[in-house]
Symmetry: C2
Subunit: 322 residues, 2 copies
């Protein structure tokens, strides 16, 4: 009988602990809408019930799950790696863009446009195996600190979004990251930081090659961008990687517009949300005029399209985890 | 107390029903090796235990999960669709290759090489939304019959492999298809036929575009092959879609060689198997000299590499489901 009691308790525990699934969210419109949505699509007696297989939730990463100012964190990684490589062999700095990168002069790199950025990415991200690259990213995350906050980059994730990811998963959603960032870069920390396994991380890609020599084989990142997972690339990547239309999407910039639009076109009940960076004090404040994470079209159309505009300042009790 | 009894029964039932997980396999080397492998990696008290997250199993489709003779079934679909399209508008047959396709003259199409094949694929697979395309494939599967067996194509799947897929899933493996065939084509039947959801089907791709007009949006298949999921492309696709090295791989031709090699390079315990088509009576018999599903390198190296060579004739009690 004692065993029976233990069995019964363990059956019911999971439903008891999710009394408030989103404790860092102020009890305002966004939280209420999200909870109402999840309760509606998981109510098997209702007419808006969505089967588990279709409970696909997709999230942008930069600016949606973690911060992205003053530049995408992956750029900080690229410069750091170039500096480390150049220390060993300064002759790799073969152009003005690479020399600027080595000095940490992000403005000069940016002024060089796409060709300068490609040079920086190729030197820092290519001609390395996926295994070695991800080990390097993990090591960097352990030691590198954000110039503004002094925090480790993977501590600059949004506590309310971590709660949202867990809440969705507790309700049998499959949570995906669909990021403009590099697929291998984000996979290096997505599982430990967000609880999202590599097969559920979709991102931009460099070329990739399978190489063998003798009895050993490796997967090698090669120069040049093969796929940009941004804008219309996001729904394309969702189709290729997931093959189902999501019912939940979270983004923060116009690069997420098409992903939200695609999700909203689902015939099943769906919810799209935009994280609006309104909190200059606790995080950053930017939207229409920002050089990174520009949010103009999404802001203008959110109300008409029924997308949630999440006001970070007024709807989030905390930003980063304690 | 009765409730307790029901709970306990339901806990143990799952282990009772898998007494013989592979009833269509002869109790010979392949079956024994597979079962030994699965029992070893799922034994949490052993030193070869593999955590659930790493239990990734990948399978080729053509010739591994279903038949592929006299030509890949997707080619039959392509010709059928061209014939249907040409009936409505004969002016679409703008080349010798397309005219041959319309006559069902596979030899003439093959003689035209890659450019002829691309023409056929573009006309039959492109300029159509993914939704419409997959509806068309599903409809075709309902009515089309294989010229040799008279069976529906999705009934020409291998019963022993269906059992293997289920057995692996019962042991918390995640089963993937990694096919040289088209990703959207195979996804159209993979879930109903193999129990494999779209997000676990990786394949070759045409170009793909996200298109909107007014308030509607669609995912459209576009001309020309963007990715060939064959040979070294298979491990590349596995990295992009899964991000983990598999511990189980099944193939049948040299196009699967690198996928098996990559799987075998896993530091975790792993098993690679090749379906050897030895059964001219019940299926087809071919290997080194075949124009489709050629198996030469894999056959020569299987023993040295410790790969299972599954003898269809002598190790499978049945081929297709009843």
């Amino acid at each position: 009988m004692r065993l029976c009691f233990v069995l019964l308790i363990s059956l019911f525990t999971s439903s008891l602990v999710i009394a408030d699934p989103l404790p860092s969210w102020v009890d305002a419109k966004s939280k209420q809408s999200i909870i109402e949505f999840v309760e509606t699509v998981t109510d098997s007696s209702g007419d808006k019930f969505v089967p588990v297989a279709d409970r696909i939730a997709v999230f942008d990463n930069d600016g949606t799950l973690w911060s992205e100012q003053p530049v995408y964190f992956q750029i900080f990684y690229a410069l750091d790696r170039i500096q480390r490589l150049a220390k060993e062999d300064p002759s790799i700095l073969t152009s003005d863009a690479l020399k600027a990168a080595n000095k940490g002069d992000i403005k000069a790199v940016a002024a060089g446009g796409m060709s300068a950025l490609t040079e920086v990415i190729n030197l820092s991200h290519a001609n390395i195996s996926v295994t070695d690259f991800q080990a390097d990213v993990k090591q960097w995350l352990k030691t590198a600190r954000h110039p503004g906050t002094g925090l480790a980059y993977n501590h600059m994730v949004y506590q309310p979004m971590l709660e949202l990811l867990s809440y969705l998963r507790d309700n049998d959603f499959k949570t995906y990251i669909v990021t403009g960032g590099g697929i291998h870069f984000v996979r290096a920390f997505a599982e430990s930081t967000y609880g999202i396994p590599p097969e559920q991380v979709v991102g931009s890609q460099l070329n990739l090659a399978y190489e063998t020599s003798g009895s050993s084989s490796r997967m090698v990142k090669k120069p040049d961008i093969a796929f940009v997972d941004d804008g219309p690339g996001k729904p394309v990547a969702i189709d290729i990687h997931i093959g189902r239309k999501p019912i939940f999407a979270g983004g923060n910039s116009d690069g997420d517009f098409q992903m939200l639009e695609w999700t909203s076109s689902n015939k099943l009940p769906n919810l799209a949300m935009i994280v609006h960076h309104t909190d200059a004090k606790r995080e950053f404040s930017y939207d229409k005029k920002s050089h990174i994470g520009k949010l103009e079209k999404g802001m203008d159309q959110a109300a008409d399209r029924g997308w949630l505009l999440v006001d970070m300042k007024n709807e989030w009790k905390s930003i980063y985890p304690e």
